[in-house]
């Protein structure tokens, strides 16, 4: 696995607003995973949100202001690792176009080149594809729209999941169909959003997987929220939550919210001493 590299790879974590406030475990997992792989990880101060919700709702000037300041926050990063495909897409695809100032735009273009969604960083930059699973049984993969169609990334997450030791990747019917999140769309047209979600969750359940993995906090919020409400036994987890570096010595992570579905409470509320195979996923 991770052989000694000539110089340690440096990466800055862009944790994103949802990752920071709602899914801190994802960020923690990423930091431990990357460190386990010999990456030196930092967390630049002053980061907030990428501004995508503003852009998508038509607040372009406001989104541009966020783009400018986030570009400055991350300008010195060697690599930027983002746990959400949509936020990575925002930085890579939209930031340069949002910034008028030529010098800052050039900085944003450089930043776009060095920004990676997590699975892309693991596979594309580090060349790491073999991990131990933190969950047992079958897992399936949902293609997040911005990662799939925005960044054209369908293979990195699948490569990782297919090689996952201790879990089996199964196909998700309609894997490339939207989960119905769409940011403010989920609140503006909640009935339509929920109907799209119902279809997605029916597919998750039909796949036979105990866990649907995604690489976007927005999709996870939507899918996990729906699964929990319907009392499903299936879980929605971030890729980082199901991965463990082969040589991991740290305790398996605790999957606070994702694990606490009412239909099947976790064996232990504390959770930290659980075996890796039980963390969060249905044991089959």
């Amino acid at each position: 696995m991770s052989q000694a590299r000539p110089a340690p790879v440096r990466a800055s974590l862009m944790v994103t607003c949802l990752g920071d406030m709602l899914f801190p475990e994802v960020g923690v997992s990423i930091v431990r995973l990357l460190r386990g792989l010999g990456v030196s990880v930092d967390f630049p101060k002053g980061q907030t949100c990428c501004g995508l919700p503003l852009l998508n709702s038509g607040y372009r000037a406001e989104a541009a202001a966020v783009a400018r300041r986030t570009t400055l926050v991350f300008q010195d990063a060697a690599h930027v690792v983002v746990p959400s495909g949509s936020c990575a897409w925002m930085v890579k695809h939209e930031y340069p176009a949002l910034i008028a100032d030529p010098a800052l735009r050039a900085t944003a273009e450089g930043l776009a080149q060095r920004t990676y969604e997590l699975s892309q960083f693991l596979v594309g930059v580090l060349g790491e594809t073999r991990f131990r699973s933190a969950v047992s049984g079958r897992v399936t993969y949902h293609d997040s729209c911005h990662l799939l169609r925005g960044l054209g990334e369908a293979t990195s997450p699948r490569t990782i999941l297919r090689n996952l030791r201790g879990a089996e990747l199964v196909d998700l019917p309609g894997h490339d169909e939207c989960c119905g999140f769409g940011g403010s769309f989920a609140v503006r047209l909640p009935e339509v959003s929920s109907a799209i979600l119902d279809k997605k969750l029916a597919n998750v359940e039909a796949s036979g997987a105990g866990c649907v993995v995604a690489c976007d906090a927005g999709c996870l919020m939507q899918m996990a929220g729906g699964l929990r409400r319907r009392g499903s036994r299936a879980r929605a987890l971030h890729l980082a939550e199901v991965l463990q570096w082969e040589g991991a010595s740290t305790a398996p992570m605790k999957l606070e919210w994702a694990a606490a579905a009412p239909s099947k409470p976790p064996h232990s509320r504390e959770g930290d001493d659980r075996g890796a195979g039980e963390a969060g996923a249905r044991t089959r």
Partner: protein
């Protein structure tokens, strides 16, 4: 009813849900198979897009050439700036021909100008001859899909409709239903004085109007009545026959997954001396209706649209609500853009948000129209012209202010933790007030974490 209310009605309609699910799933499969079995598909899309762009860059030139070629072959061309002009012009042609009945092919352009209403008003009976349109006309409805107007109906509903109309029991068997329509329509083809068609394309070099159908009704409508009127948006002109070949192939693959549609009808003016069939008069109505303005407008790319309907079939929103909920002539993702083009951006204040911006539409579009980008621009227009709701603008601007001030942003989590306390159970929220109420109706919401990542970072930093 607001758009949101209309979506709720559509979601509650079991027949609609059944019909939509079956039809859109089938369309998606057919399209996927067509492209999978044709290795040059992506290149063909690029070529089609390039043809559309090159045509728009010299649209005036190609239109002039088209007019010239049609007139040279004895046809007449009418340029309609508005829907009114088009409608009045067509009614006038029918009147002069002494027409009592007009048979029609499926045409979104005639839907756009509400031609059937105008014809009926003038005492000319319009008869739709496309099976889907025939069903819609019997039901007194409007098409709910660009290429499959009756997509919202199950075969059971169609059988009921036919039974009521014929006052006898009709089986819910597509073959039986088609045969009935065929018998009914055969008489009309022979009686009609005027045939009205749309046009999928018109070739500038040759003055050829091109109709793509799978039922052959296009041939009957263009050859049996004494007068043929074709109605076409100005952007449908193509420079040459070789361009046409590319567009026909990409259209059929994208629309129905066919290599070519069953019938491709090429019409060149009225019957010439020595010819056995064809109309005595041929009229081409070129419809502007807001299109030309967009040559230099933000919706220019929407003028590439071939009306294949692929973006509707893959749109998660369309697949849930169908076409009628949009309440516009053109439904679905491209329909929102076309509605903004025809009726102005204010007409799509709500519709511009009828998308999760998943990008499936742009991916399916044969000419790669960036529909999500234009939807965002329409939303932006709503913000800039203050037609977006006041309260929403306040919330988003406050959010933007928060994102620009990290010190304030850091206080958001502790504040949220206090506010959420009464609502949290086992790390999740089942019910919230205000604008988040709509989230929690059907979904749990994760609570703001006991400790955010930022709050955990200092110890995480020490961990190594």
């Amino acid at each position: 009813m607001t758009f949101r209310e209309r979506t709720a009605v559509a979601l509650g309609d079991a027949h609609l849900q059944e019909a939509l699910n079956i039809a859109t799933t089938r369309f998606i499969e057919l399209r996927r198979e067509a492209f999978a079995s044709f290795p040059g598909g992506e290149e063909l899309r690029d070529r089609a897009r390039a043809i559309k762009e090159a045509t728009l860059q010299r649209l005036d030139h190609y239109l002039e050439r088209l007019v010239d070629q049609v007139e040279r072959r004895g046809g007449r061309v009418h340029y309609a700036l508005t829907a009114d002009e088009a409608r009045d012009g067509i009614v006038e042609i029918c009147r002069r021909a002494g027409a009592r009945m007009a048979v029609k092919t499926k045409s979104m352009a005639t839907e756009e100008i509400e031609l059937n209403e105008a014809l009926s008003h003038a005492g000319i009976a319009p008869v739709e001859t496309d099976l889907g349109e025939y069903i819609i006309q019997l039901a007194h409805e409007k098409p709910s899909h660009i290429i499959a107007p009756a997509i919202h109906k199950t075969k059971g509903q169609v059988a009921e409709l036919f039974s009521r109309e014929l006052k006898r029991h009709v089986a819910a068997d597509p073959e039986v239903l088609t045969r009935i329509a065929r018998v009914e329509l055969r008489e009309k083809f022979l009686q009609a004085d005027v045939g009205i068609t749309g046009a999928n394309f018109a070739v500038a070099d040759t003055g050829t109007v091109v109709l793509v159908t799978n039922e052959g009704n296009g041939r009957m409508v263009t050859s049996l009545p004494r007068v043929h009127i074709a109605v076409m948006g100005v952007e449908k002109v193509v420079p040459s026959m070789s361009d046409l070949v590319v567009l026909l192939a990409i259209l059929a693959k994208s629309a129905t997954g066919q290599k070519l549609s069953v019938y491709t009808t090429l019409v060149q003016g009225p019957r010439r001396p020595g010819e056995l069939e064809g109309p005595e008069e041929f009229h081409l109505v070129l419809l502007d209706n807001g299109r030309i303005r967009q040559l230099a407008g933000p919706l220019r790319e929407a003028l590439y649209c071939l009306r294949c309907g692929a973006c509707l079939n893959v749109c998660p929103v369309y697949r849930q609500i169908g076409g009628h909920a949009y309440r516009s002539t053109y439904p679905g993702p491209i329909g929102i853009l076309l509605t903004a083009m025809l009726d102005g951006p204010r007409a799509v204040g709500e519709l511009a948000h009828a998308s999760s911006l998943c990008g499936a539409c742009a991916e399916a579009c044969p000419v790669r129209i960036d529909i999500p980008r234009m939807l965002i621009e329409l939303r932006q227009g709503g913000v800039e012209h203050k037609t977006a709701p006041w309260a929403e603008r306040v919330v988003f601007r406050a959010f933007a202010g928060l994102l620009a001030r990290p010190a304030l942003y850091r206080l958001a989590a502790p504040l949220a933790r206090v506010l959420q306390r009464p609502f949290v159970r086992e790390g999740a929220i089942r019910r919230l007030p205000l604008f988040l109420r709509d989230w929690t109706k059907t979904r749990d919401l994760p609570a703001v974490a006991g400790r955010t990542f930022s709050e955990r970072w200092p110890e995480l930093e020490r961990e190594r």
